[in-house]
Assembly symmetry: C2
Homo-oligomer: 286 residues x 2
Amino acid sequence: MSKLFLIGAGLMGSSLAVALKRAGAFARVVGYDVDAATIARATASGVIDDAAPNLAAGARDCDAVAVAVPPQSIAATVVDVFRALGARSVPVFDLGSVKAPVIDGIVARMGSVPTPFVPCHPLAGRELRGTDAADGALFVGRRVFMTPLSSTSREARDAVAGWWRACGADVQVVGAAEHDAAVAATSHLPHLLSSAYVATLAERVDRLARFAGPGFKDFTRIAGADPELWRQILVANAHNVSADLTALIDVLERVRDGLAAGDEAALADALSRGAEAKGRFRDGGG
Amino acid sequence: MSKLFLIGAGLMGSSLAVALKRAGAFARVVGYDVDAATIARATASGVIDDAAPNLAAGARDCDAVAVAVPPQSIAATVVDVFRALGARSVPVFDLGSVKAPVIDGIVARMGSVPTPFVPCHPLAGRELRGTDAADGALFVGRRVFMTPLSSTSREARDAVAGWWRACGADVQVVGAAEHDAAVAATSHLPHLLSSAYVATLAERVDRLARFAGPGFKDFTRIAGADPELWRQILVANAHNVSADLTALIDVLERVRDGLAAGDEAALADALSRGAEAKGRFRDGGG
């Protein structure tokens, strides 16, 4: 009887558990979370079948381990998992948005990355948080990036890719550094911009709410996500995000200074290059 | 037989014509556009019933005039309309995103704003452009801001409000200055941010497209709109937009400088204040 051990029963982990059970990839999901109330709710709602009292107990007899904990805890948790597994070789994968720091954190603690570990990043999410928002269709049609090392076991890699495909996802393999730089630009920077923008309106919400149309709603949807989760993501990928942020600030300053001087060239350039690039992203699926 | 004269058969004007005809508010729509090809297409597709050879011919015998031209042309066009109407008192309204410059532009040319003129701004739009994208449901459930002056005729104001309601819109009356400052914050600044952000990715679209998920798509939807239209909107509202942009650049610089110095306080503050304000916008309908 195949058993998945899920560590972390937040939105992502809970949605994965529901999706994998529904697909028949595992017969049972045993869950562990540092927050006892979370794991109790996940058990009561049927998101997981059984609660493990601790990590070592959950790892016993399992056929795979999904590490769905916050970014800053992933590397240490993966190391704990491999220590609990001992000599057993079982596929272990995470769901973190930034990959190089996970790999580096494991190397720093263990000297190398265990071959059954497959770093993963599903490009999926919701405005809602926690196990109560679990959605078995969260990964349908979404991309999942896998950033295996050359030493990663082929068996583990194929097994993990198969589980993601069973959830309806499109699996793509990419290097960790390329992945982290790319999602800094396409995901982490927009998140910071949307949040920082809404933050500047905080004092005026009551007056401004009726002037917020569909464009505002779309532009600010991502600002509603968990701020502590996103703090950890942005800190983990700070190097890449800062480079893109500096380039953007530069454009914004040139637009503003141009407008102040009655020169619309920088504004016109940003608008036309933005519309042109958006068209090419749209053609490419973005 | 009631007749609407539509000046400008782009997305907004064409959608208005379809919606008003569908609602039975007017029996006929006569259209004029500086671009002859546009008006030919609008006539062929049935968006308008007849093409006027020029503005004076269209204004003859009409019962209302909708001025749906680009922002920088609104004031001059409204003045031309009133000159063509002569002594006849007919409701005239525009659809511009920035109201004070329209009012000021009319005053500069005529000394005062004719009492049948009702400044309007429907908070609606689409990524698509032009008469071919006309959508009779574009205004259903959307807000339309009217910024009448104290001298504006009550009859014109009520008639125009009634037409917008016939299109399914929610009409709200507000002062022009308050309106322009509010939409700078909720609509014009996000548009500039989304465009400037995508512009910084222009060289990397081919590499980045597969990393663009649902969050990217929502955040950048508004960047796909007509850059020349938005250049005119942002220039018309530059004073208000610049003030909000400066506040935002300040936040972004503090976040970036903090990250470079290993200080996450500014980042954490932007994320938590952003998520909190977004929740209050959501409760208020934004």
